[in-house]
Symmetry: C2
Subunit: 324 residues, 2 copies
C-alpha cells in the first residue's frame, strides 16, 4: 500500500489510471487507497468547465491544456461529461488531439462514466480529483455538462468555475444562465463568430453588472472565443482564457476566498462520503438479505408507502431515534 | 388531513398544487400527506419523455396532451427539465400553448425546479407523481432531460419511456444513444424534416435489430415527427406517438411486464425514501450542532480524510456496526 501511494505521488500514470478505474467500478479497496492519498492532496488548483452539450467545451479544454502547458503547468483533466469526446463519444479529430496530449508527460486525461447510483458520480469525481492532486498536477480541469443537480454537485469540487455559452442557443440557454450565473467565475462566449455573439456578451455584461456587489470583489470576465478553425485567433483567445483563470486563482489566494472555496469543497466531500458510508451499506444489506425485494412487494401492492418502509428500516439501523 | 386527502383524490387543483410546491420546498408536513395519499396511487400509467436539450420535448408533450385528450384520457404533466418551457424558460408561444391546456380540467401541468440536495429531485419527482396519481389522472407524463444520472433516476419512476432524438446533433447524440437505447420503449425522431433524419432512423433500426431478443417481446417503434409548423402533419404524427404509447401500455399489461416495471418503480421509491430518512436527518443534525463545520475544517486542513470522518459519523448513528 505505502509503495502504491508513493508511486502515485511520484506521478505513476499506470497506477493512477487503475485507481481511477477502481473508483469508477466501486472496488471497495479503492476507498482505503483514497484515504491514504488524502494527506497528499489539497495543493492543486481545480477548475470546473461547464456548459450545454455542443457548447464546445472539449475543444476549449484541449486548447486550454496547450495554453497552460506553455506556462509550464502540469495538468490533470477529468471529463465527466457524457457528451464529451474525452469520455468516448469522440470523432476522429478529437481523438487525434487527445493523443497529442497523451504523449506529453505533463498532461493526464481521464474520463468518468456517468453511471452510478445515488450521488455516486459526484463522489467518484471527487475521488478521481484526489488521485490527480496526489500526482502533483498544478491545475486539474473538471469538464461537466451544466444541466442537472448532480453536475452542479460535481462543480462543487472545483475552486474556480468556467461557464461556456454559445450564441444562438435560444431561450433554453436563458433558463440555464439563471443557475449558471451564480456559480460562474469566468464566462466564455464560444463560437463567437456566430450571429448573436455580441448580443449575448451585452446581455451577460448587464446581468453581471446587476449582480455585482457595489463593484467590489471579483468581476467575472467574459472571454469571446472564435472558431477553432481559425487557429491563430483561437489560440490567442484560449491563451486569454488561461490568463483569466490564473488571475482568478491569484484573486482567490489574495482575497482569502480560496479558503472559503476549500471549505465548500470539504462540505461537498463530507456529503458524498456520508452517502457512501451511511446509505450504501444499508442498501447493500437489504439487497443481500432479500429484504429489499420484500419491501418493494409491499410498496407495489400499496400495503405500505415508501416513507413508512424507510422509517422502519431507519429504526433497525439507527441509534439516535429518540433524539429526533 | 383526511379532508385534504379526500379533496386531492377528488382532483382539487389548488390543494394538489400546494402540496407539490410543499414537496419541492421540502416542507416536513408534505411527507405525512404523501404517506396518506399513497394508498390512492398506483392506477395511473406513467410515461417518461427524455432527450437532449433542444430536442423539442415540450412541443411534443404539448401535442401529446392534445392527442390523448381526444381519447378522453385525463393527463398530468410533470416537467423536471431545466430547459423546458414548462419549468419557466418559456418563450411567449409556449406559454400560450400551456394556457390553452390550463383551461382544460382534464389536464394538470406542474413543474419541479432542479435544485435540491442528494437525490432530492428524484424523490420530489416521485412524490409529485403520487399526487397526480391520487388525483386520478389516467396518464402522467414526466418530462426530463436525458443527461446525467439523476435524470435517469427520475425516469425510473416511469412505466414507459419515450426517447426523443433529433437529426444532425452529431456525435454527441451517439454517446447518449448508448445509454438511452436500453431504457427506451418508444423512439421519436423529432424535426424529421431536417437532413439526416432517414439516416438516424436507419441507424436506430439497425441498433434495435442488433439488440432485439430473437424477435420476441416489445420492439421499440420509431415515430418520425416533422416540423411543428406544419400543423396537420404534426398532429397526425403525434397522434401516432400517442397510439404507440397506448400499445406499449397494453403490451406491458398483457405480457405481465407492467408488474416488473412497478417493482422497479417501488425500488426507486425505497431508494429515494431511504436517502430522505437516513441521510438527511444525519446531515441536518450535524449542521444544526455545528459539527459539520468542525469536520469540514479537519478535512480542509488534511487532518482527516472525508471517508474517515464519515465512518466516525456513521459509528455515532448506527447500531449495526458490528454486523459489517
Amino acid at each position: 500500500m505505502d509503495s502504491l501511494i508513493k508511486k502515485i505521488c511520484a506521478g505513476d500514470v499506470r497506477l493512477a489510471s487503475r485507481l481511477i478505474r477502481d473508483i469508477e467500478d466501486k472496488i471497495p479497496e479503492a476507498k482505503a487507497k483514497i484515504k491514504k492519498l488524502y494527506a497528499h492532496t489539497g495543493k492543486s488548483f481545480i477548475v470546473g468547465i461547464t456548459g450545454a452539450p455542443g457548447a464546445g467545451k472539449s475543444t476549449l479544454t484541449d486548447a486550454l491544456i496547450t495554453a497552460l502547458r506553455k506556462k509550464n503547468k502540469t495538468i490533470g483533466v477529468l471529463a465527466v461529461d457524457p457528451t464529451s469526446p474525452f469520455t468516448g463519444g469522440a470523432i476522429l479529430g478529437d481523438r487525434i488531439r487527445m493523443q497529442k496530449h497523451a504523449e506529453d508527460e505533463g498532461v493526464f486525461v481521464r474520463s468518468l462514466a456517468t453511471r452510478g447510483a445515488l450521488g455516486g458520480l459526484s463522489q467518484a469525481a471527487g475521488d478521481a480529483i484526489h488521485v490527480m492532486e496526489a500526482m502533483g498536477k498544478d491545475i486539474i480541469i473538471v469538464e461537466t455538462v451544466g444541466i442537472g443537480q448532480q453536475e452542479i454537485d460535481i462543480i462543487n469540487h472545483a475552486h474556480s468555475v468556467v461557464v461556456v455559452l454559445v450564441p444562438g442557443m435560444g431561450d433554453e440557454i436563458q433558463t440555464m444562465k439563471a443557475g449558471l450565473m451564480e456559480i460562474a467565475d469566468v464566462f466564455v462566449v464560444n463560437k463567437a463568430n456566430r450571429p448573436g455573439a455580441n448580443q449575448l456578451q451585452t446581455e451577460l455584461s448587464s446581468m453581471l453588472n446587476l449582480a455585482s456587489r457595489n463593484g467590489a470583489g471579483w468581476q467575472p470576465p467574459i472571454v469571446m472565443v472564435g472558431d477553432a478553425f481559425e487557429p491563430a485567433a483561437f489560440a490567442e483567445k484560449t491563451a486569454e482564457l488561461a490568463q483569466k483563470i490564473e488571475e482568478h486563482h491569484r484573486y482567490l489566494i489574495e482575497s482569502g476566498k480560496l479558503t472559503e472555496r476549500m471549505h465548500r469543497k470539504a462540505l461537498a466531500e463530507i456529503n458524498d462520503a456520508l452517502s457512501f458510508c451511511l446509505l450504501e451499506p444499508v442498501i447493500a444489506e437489504l439487497t443481500a438479505t432479500g429484504k429489499m425485494e420484500h419491501f418493494a412487494e409491499k410498496i407495489k401492492s400499496r400495503q405500505a408507502d415508501p416513507y413508512s418502509v424507510a422509517e422502519e428500516i431507519a429504526k433497525t439501523f439507527f441509534i439516535k431515534q429518540d433524539k429526533k
